[in-house]
Symmetry: C2
Subunit: 304 residues, 2 copies
């Protein structure tokens, strides 16, 4: 089964005639549901042993923490504030009570840090891999920041250095809720996404949803210290573009706001490019000033 | 791992100091979240191949349908109206695209029937069992009907005949949303739960949450035609009490409302007992007028 995008199209076609209070359905980091004067965010992510983690290399506590963290990152990407989480567990019959307590401890300690309440769930014991699904709700103070809001001439920013997440960062990252809250409460953020698939892939999501091309500046892409320094610059850049699971925010603002953002020192931001051109043109300006195609690489596994 | 109830206690202890807009957390059919003037319902259920279904005996379409249906039943049990669903899939690498389309078709056709929109999800391909998790949201018109609302002297009702669900009914049941809506819009329903674990087990949830005992009348418990008629009456009754997955509503009302309910013919209801006595006394009056302990049997697998 490797036709996920056909499946998404199939689901979207089946559901497109349903009218309701849903403002935004499948296709962004969260869905948006209008309730009275509020906008409710909804998202979900499932982690499965042997695909997303190997318990030889990572603790149950880290798995529980990450299962929530990736959902919190989705809420951050919409400019929202998380409220409640539902947790479903598929528990291997061989797992000890202590290990599952450790898993929930990791999850709940992070939930407390970000004012999110675990309000329910479901558990099943089975002869198979450890499975953890988290569904999250949040609220948006004003309007959600969607992928489709980028405008011609917008400056493109990221909230931190990229690449090398597999060295451990993807287990310990802080969801960028503080940064998201600061950005949306002080500036007009046109579009935003969290970097889960990798910059080269996620910038395309903004580009396609907004129907505008993009030119990234190779020299401005912040490469994380986690990326092996013995590698060539080209190889290090490739890691920053394609490793995925950075969980930084990628966002666009008009150029005047971009200038203001570079003056503030409340949060880390890096300007990395500009939105311009046709939507199928996602390019990178290299050190010699030449425009090259951005490699299309990275994880693809979401339909929310 | 067979200590689910210790796990629930552990989670509840870790989360109990969190204050928020959550009106009701872990421990009922849905959690309740206050948003502006609205009360939002939240619930989730996970189905895993080989535990909850065997694809030799059931179609992908039926699996998809049921994954949503059990969640709709949770919303019905609170007196709510469903709105949106998030769907996470763990897809075996051997599964065909057609089979997963069939699964989503079964789910989405039911969602359309009950005005519920699939707003997002997550898919993972893996070398393991088929996994489907649904998280659902709903709204309650006025106040949620909780398990803890039963009062001394309340009449106990169910919305249909019980037992024999494993013969196929648990794949085709209609979530009792119409019945729930009728009941809550016309009568003061004190407490309610959906029958997932089985009457003998689920009546205890109402009894314990409401801190009142219960006496069921053996002769009044409606036994489904699905239960093998060649069995003895005692055996048939045991099936009605313990099979689980009936997905009828079990609810309590004051005796005057009980009398009114028996006069209406809008929905099927059966009066089966009365709430009285100490909360640890869940009894059954048999055909000879003798009080006997109700067998404590049935499935236990939820913490929402």
């Amino acid at each position: 089964m490797s036709h996920e995008f056909d499946l998404i199209r199939y689901i979207t076609e089946l559901t497109q005639d349903q009218s309701s209070s849903i403002e935004l359905g499948i296709g962004d980091d969260c869905a948006v549901w209008n309730v009275d004067q509020s906008k409710i965010l909804l998202a979900t992510d499932m982690l499965i042993e042997e695909v997303h983690f190997d318990l030889k290399n990572v603790s149950y506590e880290q798995v529980g923490r990450k299962a929530l963290a990736v959902n919190l990152s989705d809420v951050a990407a919409m400019g929202g504030k998380p409220t409640a989480a539902l947790v479903s567990l598929g528990i291997p019959v061989s797992a000890s009570v202590q290990s599952i307590q450790d898993l929930m401890y990791g999850l709940i300690m992070l939930s407390v840090q970000y004012d999110t309440v675990v309000v329910g769930g479901d558990t099943t014991s089975h002869d198979g891999p450890l499975i953890i699904n988290v569904a999250i709700t949040g609220v948006v103070p004003e309007h959600p920041v969607v992928r489709s809001g980028a405008k011609e001439g917008d400056s493109v920013f990221v909230t931190g250095a990229l690449g090398g997440s597999l060295s451990g960062h993807h287990w310990s990252f802080q969801p960028r809720l503080k940064e998201s809250n600061y950005l949306t409460s002080h500036y007009d953020i046109h579009s935003m996404i969290d970097l889960s698939d990798g910059l080269a892939s996620d910038i395309r999501h903004i580009s396609q949803a907004s129907v505008i091309g993009c030119i990234l500046n190779e020299d401005e892409i912040p490469i994380s210290d986690r990326v092996d320094k013995r590698l060539s610059q080209t190889e290090r850049l490739h890691h920053a573009l394609s490793d995925g699971e950075d969980f930084e925010l990628l966002f666009t603002v008009c150029s005047e706001v971009g200038d203001q953002l570079k003056q503030q020192d409340e949060i880390e931001v890096h300007e990395i490019g500009v939105m311009q051109g046709d939507s199928d043109q996602v390019l990178m300006k290299n050190s010699h000033g030449e425009l090259v195609q951005l490699p299309d690489a990275g994880w693809k596994h979401h339909f929310s």
